[in-house]
């Protein structure tokens, strides 16, 4: 029973506007893709349960809700993140170059206790548009290596390439962080309508 303890992981996805953050989440959780680009109106967070090493893990994947557009993500967004996913578009150089500042932004805002070992995962998205590609796999991989061996995946939300694998790794690394804490952070209370409360207390 103890090994089956439920775990809730908060994963946040960062990256420039238009790199496909919402599409990746949607592909992974809802197995849906829409070609039509629109700013991520209405995207909040998606929840998915998965198994990681014999454990049931609930992964909450948080969308930026468009607040990344003008570098206006508030610090609240970063609170308690267990893993940070950095996404860029392999066809747009600028989105790759900005990974550095997204990573720094995360480390400053989230202030993890052990910044050197905080789990990041990098996703180079939109590889289905192969002939337009400007960032080589090698370049991306070497950046990831220089930042402490960040796992790197090349994905296509549209074609569902590598999405499943990427998120499995994300969950795995996030859980490692939780397990590794010497002083686990006591859980906070979520306020809810009363019925839900009693329900959860008696089961």
């Amino acid at each position: 029973m103890a090994t089956k303890k439920k775990v809730l992981l908060k994963v946040i996805i960062l990256g420039d506007t238009g790199v496909g953050k919402t599409s990746l989440m949607n592909q992974y959780v809802n197995k849906k893709f829409s070609n039509q680009y629109k700013a991520t109106i209405g995207a909040d967070f998606l929840t998915k349960e998965l198994m990681v090493d014999d454990r049931v893990v609930t992964m909450q994947i948080w969308d930026t809700a468009g607040q990344e557009r003008f570098q206006s993500l508030g610090v609240a967004f970063y609170r308690g993140a267990d893993c940070c996913v950095l996404v860029y578009d392999v066809n747009v150089a600028k989105t790759f170059e900005n990974l550095d500042s997204w990573r720094d932004e995360f480390l400053i805002q989230a202030g993890p206790r052990d910044p050197d070992n905080f789990p990041f995962v990098v996703l180079g998205n939109k590889i289905d548009l192969e002939n337009q590609r400007v960032v080589s796999q090698k370049r991306a991989a070497s950046w990831c290596q220089s930042k402490g061996n960040i796992p790197y995946f090349e994905t296509s939300a549209k074609e569902a390439i590598n999405v499943e694998q990427a998120f499995q790794t994300i969950a795995k690394n996030a859980i490692k962080l939780e397990d590794g804490l010497v002083f686990p952070i006591p859980p906070g209370i979520q306020v809810q309508p009363e019925q839900t409360q009693t329900k959860s207390s008696c089961c």
Binding site: N26, S34, A43, G74, V75, R79, G80, P186
Partner: protein, 644 residues
């Protein structure tokens, strides 16, 4: 998307918004503004939300220690600049103890035995230069990281390695190393478990963005001692500071308040009929409001001991304006009732604390706004407001882009030139608060991580107004440190004048350091807290006078609404700010429900691919309930397997 790339290339307009027309432009991401912005986006209004700072919350923000220290060392004085950038921390003063040159190990015990080592430090040869001049040596406007390091390194140079390890966390230099782990509210606050704000967070579905912790203990400072405030029947029963008769009076008062408000749910087992008979004279809120001129008079009518009166007026009723006489009968009664109904909801204490600071609350409503299509731009504000005749038409933002909207919502500080022009100052009240933020190495109240202390007027060094003290450990604080907030209404004096004596009483003399249950004398001295860093400042906050409608807004040019910039009020609850947000909301969209619940994702009809349109419909929080059921089933199946 190509279009967007072009924008990026055009440097001068790189920061321009794609869209230049909105239903509503909101300036400032303070509490009231964020609520209104979230509510308007929620009902489909297009919202642009700006903030002149590069963080959310204005006066309702939380900062790291490093940020706060910077703000205090580079003060932003409102008299010098034309455009006011809030928050403004006035009369800043930073104090920290110079790390003493450590005594040799042999001398340590002697020092401990001194009755008041901080006030009259043992003048051992090594110490004379530093500790005796503690207060004088404190730096006022000089605590950025580097200067701290330079002052401390010289004094710590002679420290032997062993002692250094012990003293490690007690120096300013060290606390700034973990300064980012502090989350320091400009105005700390407690939320009643059944209070208006918690209810709104639940009903508006914004609670999913927030986490809380319950307060551990609530204290009243009276007669030079801290008294844990007993509030549940069990804790009154157990309490050993009140006499038997006082216990009965407290219970009787609470019962009578319930019956006045007409709360019928009170019936304890077995005594319904007795209770009915026992009820007082059938008083109602109306009748007692007529009968007594204020809450104090009402409380006094019960002829309880002065002990119990203080306990009710300051410990259970938590509305503390300049004078206790200002609390109306109704306010007082409702505050007591709110306290009682909030007990045992999430824990024994009636209060919740935002897990990552109060600053996350406006951000939760901003996120709701963003999820419903609101656009957020920090570090940008109003350059100028544009009018056609007396009709508001839009703004030119600080990035130079002209933007149009039907409505503009901003706080008094942003709109101050217009308020002055229209001579509207009398329409809002300006209150000055004194604050002290103290970081110590040990708790001031034993055995409770997060405690709230109310100090009634005239308790310590003749304090004129009620002082709230709020101790935090483990949350919002780097490990090994304790964060203590002091807040009081100021009578024009500086924060230092208002609070330093209190801070000293608490931390330096350690005389408040005691737990009600513990015999204090013996071990208290060893565990007396040391001040590692403290910062004092004042803040002026404007609250517009709201009574269901906002008169201030009515007097402004058409289309402009003024919000309060105060994150707190005399009450520790948020009803008035929520009412204000509601009233602005309903002036823009009359008759539309305010912050309705976001439907459960399982109740939302997902558009199939072809149906997807520019409107939103992809609000996506997939349900977990179905999955949870599944996992339960798997678990029990496994049990079966084992059994067979």
């Amino acid at each position: 998307m190509d279009e967007e790339l072009n924008h990026v290339i055009d440097e001068s307009r790189a920061n321009y918004l794609d869209k230049d027309n909105y239903d509503v432009i909101v300036v400032g991401t303070g509490f009231v503004e964020s609520l209104v912005a979230g509510a308007l986006a929620r009902v489909g209004k297009s919202v642009l939300h700006l903030d002149q700072n590069c963080y959310y919350g204005v006066n309702c923000s939380s900062f790291t220690l490093n940020q706060l220290s910077d703000m205090l060392t580079k003060p932003n004085d409102d008299s010098t600049t034309a455009s006011v950038v809030q928050p403004i921390l006035k009369n800043p003063y930073i104090y920290y103890q110079q790390p003493p040159t450590p005594p040799t190990p042999a001398q340590l015990p002697t020092q401990v035995e001194q009755p008041t080592p901080v006030e009259q430090p043992v003048a051992t040869e090594q110490q004379t230069t530093t500790t005796t001049t503690n207060v004088e040596e404190s730096t006022t406007l000089d605590t950025n990281d580097t200067s701290v390091e330079s002052t401390t390194t010289t004094t710590t140079a002679t420290i032997t390695p062993v002692v250094e390890k012990e003293k490690e966390k007690e120096t300013v230099k060290d606390v700034f190393k973990v300064g980012r782990q502090f989350i320091i509210d400009l105005f700390p606050s407690l939320l009643y478990a059944k209070g208006a704000l918690v209810q709104l967070l639940i009903s508006s579905s914004t609670s999913k963005y927030l986490e809380f912790k319950t307060l551990d203990k609530n204290y009243l400072y009276a007669n030079g001692k801290l008294h844990a405030i007993p509030s549940t029947k069990g804790s009154i029963f157990k309490d050993n500071t009140f006499s038997l008769k006082e216990k009965r009076y407290i219970m009787k008062f609470i019962e009578s308040v319930r019956s006045i408000v007409g709360d019928n749910s009170s019936t304890e087992e077995n005594n319904t009929e007795e209770q009915e008979k026992q009820q007082q004279t059938g008083e109602t809120l109306e009748s007692v409001t007529k009968k007594y001129k204020n809450f104090v008079e009402f409380v006094k009518s019960y002829q309880m001991s002065s002990n119990v009166e203080t306990f009710i007026l300051y410990g259970i009723c938590l509305i503390h304006p300049r004078s206790v006489e200002q609390v109306t009968v109704e306010e007082g009664i409702l505050s007591v009732l709110l306290y009682m109904t909030s007990l045992l909801v999430y824990g024994e204490s009636p209060f919740l604390i935002p897990y990552y600071g109060y600053g996350d609350i406006p951000q939760a409503f901003c996120r709701l706004c963003a999820v419903f299509g609101g656009t957020f731009v920090l570090d940008r504000t109003i350059g100028s407001i544009n009018f056609n005749e007396n009709q508001y038409t839009g703004i030119t933002c600080s990035a130079g882009q002209p933007l149009t909207s039907k409505y503009l919502i901003a706080s008094p500080s942003v709109l101050s030139p217009y308020i002055e022009a229209a001579n509207l100052q009398p329409q809002y009240t300006k209150e000055q608060y004194s604050r002290c933020i103290l970081i110590t190495d040990k708790v001031i109240v034993n055995s409770s991580e997060c405690s709230y202390i109310t100090i009634p007027p005239n308790s310590i060094a003749g304090n004129k107004s009620t002082i709230n003290v709020y101790q935090m450990e483990n949350i919002c604080v780097a490990r090994g440190y304790v964060l203590i907030h002091f807040t009081t209404l100021s009578n024009g004096a500086t924060a230092r004048d208002d609070l330093e004596a209190v801070v000293e009483t608490f931390a330096k003399k350690g005389c408040l350091y005691r737990d009600i249950d513990a015999d204090s004398n013996s071990d208290a001295k060893d565990s007396r807290p040391n001040i590692i860093w403290s910062g004092y400042f004042n803040m002026d906050l404007n609250t517009s006078i709201v009574n269901n409608k906002s008169p201030l807004s009515e007097l402004m040019p058409k289309g402009i609404f003024v919000s309060s910039d105060s994150p707190i009020s005399a009450s520790i609850d948020y009803q008035s700010q929520i009412n204000e947000a509601k009233s602005i909301f309903s002036m823009i969209v009359p008759g539309v429900p305010f912050l309705e619940k976001v439907p459960d994702s399982e109740d939302i009809i997902w558009n199939s691919e072809e149906e997807q349109s520019a409107t939103t419909n992809e609000t996506t929080t997939t349900t977990t309930t179905a999955n949870t059921d599944n996992s339960n089933l798997t678990e029990s199946n496994n049990n079966d397997d084992k059994q067979e």
